[in-house]
C-alpha cells in the first residue's frame, strides 16, 4: 500500500516497529501531491525541502532509540494558521508574501512532538465561506466528484485528507468550517470545546466563536493529535485551564445506555432528502448499538444562524481592520495620501465575500444599530446556550446532519451571498454555545453517491463522549469508510 494512504494510527505503529521511515512516507505523499494536486489544488504552499530534511533528522533520532511522540508525522496546515518562516496568506491577496516571524502555539506543539509541517492548504479567504470558492488564489475540487466543491472554509485540508495528500490536517471552525468540508469530503473532523485548543497564531476571524479543528481519516487519528495540541496556553487568555485527558482512551467499545437527543429543528424542510436518509440510517445503527434515541427540541434554533452571522461578521470586521498596509502585507501606494492608501489597499486586497462581511460587521456595530443587532444577537446567544444546557441535563449527546445539503456543484452558490450563510445552519449553533462536535462520514447519497456527514455534539469539555460514539459508529460503518475517491486521472 502506498504509504500516503496510511492512517495516523498505522503510521505510528509502523514507525515504532521500524517497518517504515518518515522519509519514505513523505516521499509517497509528495509523489501523490505531484500527481494529483494540479487538479485537486488542495495546497497553496509546499514545504518540501525542509520537511524532507526534518524527516531525515527524525529517522536518525529513531535509529538512536529517541522516538518523539509523533515520530515525524506529516501534517497539513490551513493557511490561516501562522507558520514561522513559511508564507501564510489566509488565502487572501492582502497577505500574499506575508511570512510570520513566529509559529502558532499548535504548530510549536506539533513540532516539539516530532511532527512535520508539509504545507499550507487552501481555504475560503479569511475562513469566510462554505465552499472554498472564495479563495483568492485557486479553487480546490472535491476528490469524490471534481465538478463539485469540497466545502469550506477548510476545504483544502479536507480535500488533502480525502485524497491521501496528507495523513492528517488542521483547519479552523468558526461556524462549521471544519465540519462542513469534512462532511463534503467524506472524512472525520473534530471541533473541540471553545478554549480547549489555543488560538494563538490563528489569523482571527471571529474570536469568540472559532477553534482549531482536526481533520483526518479516522477517529483515533483525531484523538492522537488532540492529545498533542490541546491544553492551556499562557499566550491565549481564552484558553482553558481544564486538564487534558488522554483522548485515545475514549476510543473504546460501548455506547450502551448513552442517551442521544435528535433535535427536531435539525430535520427541517431545509434538509436534503438524500442526506436525511443517511443520517437516519446512522441513528438507527446507533440505536442497534445500544444507544437510547429520543427526539428533542432546541426552541430558539431558528434564530441561531442570523445571530451567529451578526456576531461573526462584527468580530471579523474588527479583526480584519489590522490589514491596513502599514507594517506588513499588501500596500497599494500610488501618489495619494494615507487615506487613499487605506482605501485602495483594502479595496483591492480583499475579495467580495470578505468585503461584504466587513461591511455588514461594521454596520451592526455602529452606534445606531449596536443594540438592535449586535447586542440582541449576544442575547440570543444566551438563549441558545440555555437550550443546549437544558437538553444536556437529560441527554448525553445530540446527533444530526452536519450539512443540510450534499456537496453542490462548483459555481452553483456563487452569486448567492445568503447561501453562503445558510449552509452553516446546523453547525453554527454549536459555536454559539462553545460546544465540542465531530463530523463523521456516515455514507453516500443514493442518487449521486456523494458523502454525507453525521454531526455528534457533546456538552462542554466532554470530547471523550463524542470521540467514543464516533469511534463506535466508525467501526460499525467500516465498509463505508473503506471506499476511497477515484483519483486515477
Amino acid at each position: 500500500m502506498p504509504l500516503n494512504e496510511l492512517s495516523v494510527v498505522d503510521y505510528l505503529n509502523k514507525m515504532n516497529n521500524r517497518e517504515i521511515s518518515a522519509e519514505q512516507v513523505l516521499k509517497d505523499i509528495f509523489n501523490q501531491i505531484d500527481r494529483i494536486d494540479k487538479t485537486v489544488k488542495s495546497y497553496l504552499y509546499l514545504n518540501k525541502e525542509e520537511a524532507l530534511s526534518e524527516a531525515k533528522k527524525i529517522d536518525q533520532k529513531i535509529k538512536n532509540n529517541d522516538i518523539p511522540p509523533l515520530a515525524g508525522l506529516p501534517v497539513a496546515i490551513n493557511d490561516n494558521i501562522c507558520t514561522g518562516g513559511m508564507e501564510t496568506t489566509a488565502a487572501s491577496r492582502i497577505l500574499k508574501g506575508f511570512i510570520p516571524p513566529y509559529d502558532a502555539t499548535v504548530i510549536k506543539r506539533i513540532k516539539d512532538a516530532g511532527g512535520i509541517i508539509i504545507g499550507k492548504t487552501n481555504l475560503d479567504e479569511f475562513a469566510m465561506g462554505i465552499s472554498n470558492e472564495n479563495s483568492a488564489f485557486q479553487i480546490t475540487l472535491n476528490p469524490w466528484d471534481r465538478t463539485r466543491v469540497p466545502g469550506g472554509a477548510s476545504g483544502g485540508s479536507a480535500a488533502a485528507v480525502a485524497a491521501d495528500e496528507t495523513l492528517i490536517a488542521l483547519g479552523t471552525d468558526t461556524g462549521g468550517s471544519v465540519r462542513l468540508p469534512a462532511s463534503f469530503c467524506g472524512i472525520s473532523a473534530i471541533k473541540p470545546t471553545y478554549g480547549r485548543i489555543s488560538r494563538y497564531g490563528v489569523i482571527g476571524c471571529a474570536s469568540s466563536l472559532e477553534q482549531i479543528g482536526i481533520m483526518g481519516k479516522g477517529i483515533k487519528d483525531l484523538a492522537i493529535l488532540m492529545n498533542v495540541i490541546s491544553g492551556y496556553d499562557e499566550l491565549d487568555s481564552t484558553s482553558s485551564h481544564i486538564s487534558t485527558p488522554d483522548f485515545l482512551l475514549s476510543c473504546r467499545e460501548g455506547i450502551n445506555n448513552l442517551k442521544f437527543g435528535i433535535p427536531k429543528e435539525f430535520f427541517s424542510q431545509d434538509l436534503d432528502r438524500g442526506v436525511k436518509e443517511k443520517v437516519i440510517d446512522s441513528i438507527n445503527r446507533i440505536s442497534q448499538l445500544g444507544g437510547k434515541i429520543e427526539e428533542v427540541s432546541l426552541p430558539n434554533m431558528e434564530y441561531a444562524l442570523p445571530a451567529y452571522s451578526i456576531i461573526a461578521m462584527a468580530e471579523a470586521s474588527s479583526n480584519l481592520a489590522k490589514f491596513d498596509g502599514i507594517s506588513y502585507g499588501l500596500r497599494i501606494e500610488d501618489s495619494g495620501d494615507l487615506e487613499e492608501m487605506y482605501l485602495k489597499t483594502r479595496g483591492s486586497g480583499f475579495g467580495a465575500e470578505v468585503i461584504r462581511r466587513i461591511l455588514l460587521g461594521t454596520y451592526v456595530l455602529t452606534s445606531n444599530h449596536y443594540e438592535d443587532y449586535y447586542l440582541k444577537a449576544q442575547k440570543i446567544r444566551s438563549l441558545i446556550k440555555k437550550d443546549f444546557e437544558n437538553v444536556f441535563k437529560k441527554f448525553d449527546l445530540l446527533i444530526g446532519p452536519a450539512s443540510p445539503v450534499p456537496p453542490f456543484k462548483l459555481g452553483e452558490k456563487e452569486d448567492e451571498p445568503l447561501a453562503q450563510i445558510l449552509a452553516e445552519i446546523y453547525t453554527s449553533p454549536v459555536n454559539m454555545a462553545g460546544l465540542p462536535a465531530i463530523s463523521i462520514n456516515c455514507g453516500f447519497t443514493e442518487k449521486e453517491r456523494l458523502p454525507v456527514g453525521l454531526q455528534i455534539i457533546g456538552p462542554p469539555f466532554q470530547e471523550e463522549k463524542i470521540l467514543r460514539v464516533a469511534y463506535n459508529l466508525e467501526q460499525e460503518l467500516k465498509e463505508i469508510n473503506s471506499v476511497k475517491p477515484d483519483l486515477s486521472f
Binding site: 516571524p101 499566550l235 481592520a321 489590522k322 455602529t366
Partner: protein, 483 residues
C-alpha cells in the same frame, strides 16, 4: 472672572510597570532605537492575542484607591475601533461602560482660597498606549510619516474628572496634586514633557443667568504646566468674547499651538468617529476580589499629605517648609536621607529649600541628580554648627561644592577660611581697630549702640570674615570697657 468657567480634565497616566500591558516587551523605550521593543502582540501581527499584565492592574487599583474611587468587582475591556498608523491593530483595547473604577474625588487647595475643595473623579480605566508618529514635511505639507511602535502597548490609566474645575489655576493645582500622588504611589513618574502624563481638557462657559451649561470644546496638545495654563486661559477668553459678541461656541476639538499662543481648530463634532465599541472577545472579564483590593489597600505607600503631617510632627518643621518639601517626592526623600544623620532639621530644611533648590533650578537639574548628596550637605552643615566656618563662608563653600563636587572639608581646608575661634588670634586686630577708630569708640561709650557694630564690621574685614561675630562683639565690649 466669576464662577462660570466649567472645566473637566482627561488625564492619561503611563504606568511604571516593567512590561507592556498585553505582552512582555520592556516598557523602557525612551531614547531607544525605534521598533526595537516590539513583538507580535504589540505590533498587531495577525494571530497575536493580548494577555493582561497583573502589575498594571495592581497599579491601577492603587491609584483608584488613592483617588477614593469605587472599584468595580467585575470589569471588562472593550475595543475602540479606528484607523491611524500609530494603532497597529486598528483598534485600541480600552474600557467603556464597565471601567475599573468610578466615582472618586481628589482634594485640592489653591493658594487663593483658604479651604480645600473636592474635585470629583468620574472614572479611571485601563487602556493601551499607541505608537509614536513623526511627521516629515515638504513644502509646508506633511509628505510622509514615520512610525515607531516601541510605545505601542504601554499601560495607561485614563482618569476623567467631572466638570468641577473652575479656573486654569485650579486645573494646574489639580494636576500638580495628582502628579504628586502618582509619584508617591510609584505608579508613574508624572513627566509632562516626556509624555508619561498627558492632559486634555473640556471647557465651557456656564450662563450666569440661568445656570445652563454652555457648549464645550475639547483642548489637546498641551505638553507642560505652562502650556496648560496658557491654553486654558486663552480658550476661556476666546469663548467669553464669542458669547459677548452674540456668537455661538461650536462643539469642536481644538489644538494648543505653542508658537502662536492660540487654540486652533482641529476637527468638528460631525467629524467625530463612530468607534463601534464592543466587548473585547480575546480578553475575559477581569474580576477584582475584595481580598485583592484589601491587600493593595493595606500597602498604600505614604501619600503627600500624610508625609507633610509627619514632617511637621517628627521634624518640628513649620507648615510652609513641610509643604514644600513633600511637593515632589524625591525632594522629601533627599531631606529624610539627610535627616537620618543630622538633627538640626530646620537648618537642613532652610539649606535644601534655599541654596540647593536655587542652584538646581539655575542649572535645570532634578533633585535626584543633585551634585551635592545628602551626606555631603550634612558635612557642610556640621562645619557651621561646630563653628569651623561662618554661615556666610558656608554659602561660598556650598557654591564650590555644587560646581566641583568636592567635599566641604576639602574645600574649607584649601581656602584656609576656617573660622577663628581663638581669642588670641584676634586680640591684635581688636587693638588695632579700637586705636584707629577713637571717635566711634567714644560714640559707643556715650551710648550709641550702633557704633559697636561698625567696629565688629571692621574686625570682620581684617579677618576676612573668619572671625566669629558673637565672639568679636563680646571681646570688643570687654576691651572698650577697660578703657
Amino acid at each position: 472672572m466669576g464662577n462660570d468657567t466649567v472645566i473637566g480634565l482627561e488625564i492619561h497616566v503611563q504606568l511604571l510597570t516593567k512590561t507592556k500591558i498585553f505582552c512582555n516587551c520592556s516598557t523602557d523605550y525612551f531614547d531607544q532605537e525605534p521598533n526595537s521593543h516590539t513583538c507580535p502582540v504589540c505590533l498587531g501581527l495577525p494571530g497575536s492575542l493580548p494577555v493582561l499584565n497583573k502589575k498594571a492592574v495592581d497599579f491601577a487599583i492603587l491609584t483608584a484607591l488613592a483617588l477614593n474611587c469605587h472599584i468595580n468587582e467585575s470589569n471588562i475591556f472593550h475595543r475602540k475601533n479606528y484607523f491611524y498608523p500609530d494603532l497597529p491593530k486598528a483598534y485600541q483595547i480600552s474600557q467603556f461602560d464597565r471601567p475599573l473604577a468610578e466615582n472618586g474625588f481628589l482634594e485640592i487647595r489653591t493658594e487663593k482660597s483658604a479651604e480645600s475643595r473636592n474635585i470629583r473623579i468620574n472614572r479611571a480605566h485601563m487602556e493601551e498606549d499607541a505608537g509614536k508618529l513623526i511627521h516629515l514635511e515638504r513644502d509646508g505639507k506633511t509628505s510622509s510619516s514615520l512610525v515607531d511602535y516601541n510605545r505601542s502597548g504601554i499601560p495607561l490609566l485614563e482618569i476623567v474628572t467631572e466638570p468641577d474645575i473652575q479656573s486654569s489655576e485650579e486645573a494646574i493645582v489639580f494636576l500638580q496634586t495628582l502628579r504628586s500622588i502618582v509619584q508617591y504611589l510609584g505608579v508613574c513618574d508624572g513627566n509632562l514633557e516626556r509624555g508619561s502624563m498627558r492632559c486634555d481638557a473640556n471647557i465651557s462657559i456656564r450662563n450666569k443667568e440661568n445656570g445652563e451649561l454652555g457648549t464645550k470644546t475639547e483642548l489637546k496638545n498641551m505638553n507642560s504646566f505652562r502650556a496648560i495654563r496658557q491654553a486654558l486661559d486663552f480658550e476661556i477668553t476666546r469663548q467669553r468674547r464669542l458669547i459677548e459678541q452674540g456668537g455661538k461656541v461650536l462643539q469642536e476639538t481644538r489644538r494648543w499651538d505653542e508658537s502662536s499662543g492660540k487654540t486652533v481648530f482641529m476637527r468638528s463634532k460631525e467629524e467625530a468617529l463612530d468607534y463601534r465599541y464592543f466587548p473585547e472577545p480575546d480578553l475575559l472579564p477581569l474580576f477584582i476580589s475584595q481580598s485583592w483590593i484589601e491587600s493593595i489597600e493595606n500597602n498604600i505607600p505614604e501619600l503627600p499629605d500624610e508625609r507633610k503631617e509627619r514632617f511637621m510632627k517628627d521634624y518640628k518643621l513649620p507648615h510652609y517648609d513641610a509643604n514644600r518639601l513633600v511637593e515632589v517626592k524625591p525632594l522629601g526623600d533627599y531631606f529624610e536621607r539627610a535627616a537620618k544623620n543630622y538633627n538640626n532639621y530646620k537648618q537642613l530644611a532652610n539649606w535644601i529649600l534655599g541654596e540647593l533648590l536655587c542652584y538646581l533650578g539655575q542649572e535645570n537639574i532634578d533633585i535626584d541628580k543633585s551634585p551635592i548628596t545628602p551626606v555631603a550637605l550634612i558635612e557642610l552643615l556640621e562645619l557651621i554648627d561646630r563653628g569651623v566656618i561662618s554661615g556666610k563662608i558656608a554659602k561660598n563653600i556650598f557654591e564650590d561644592m555644587f560646581k566641583t563636587g568636592q567635599s566641604a572639608a576639602l574645600l574649607v581646608e584649601k581656602s584656609g577660611s576656617t573660622q577663628i575661634s581663638n581669642k588670641e588670634e584676634i586680640d591684635d586686630i581688636i587693638e588695632k581697630v579700637v586705636r584707629d577708630n577713637c571717635e566711634t569708640v567714644q560714640d559707643y561709650i556715650s551710648g550709641k549702640e550702633k557704633a559697636i557694630h561698625f567696629l565688629v564690621g571692621q574686625v570682620m574685614r581684617y579677618t576676612k570674615g573668619r572671625a566669629q561675630p558673637d565672639m568679636v562683639l563680646s571681646l570688643l565690649r570687654e576691651r572698650i570697657d577697660k578703657t
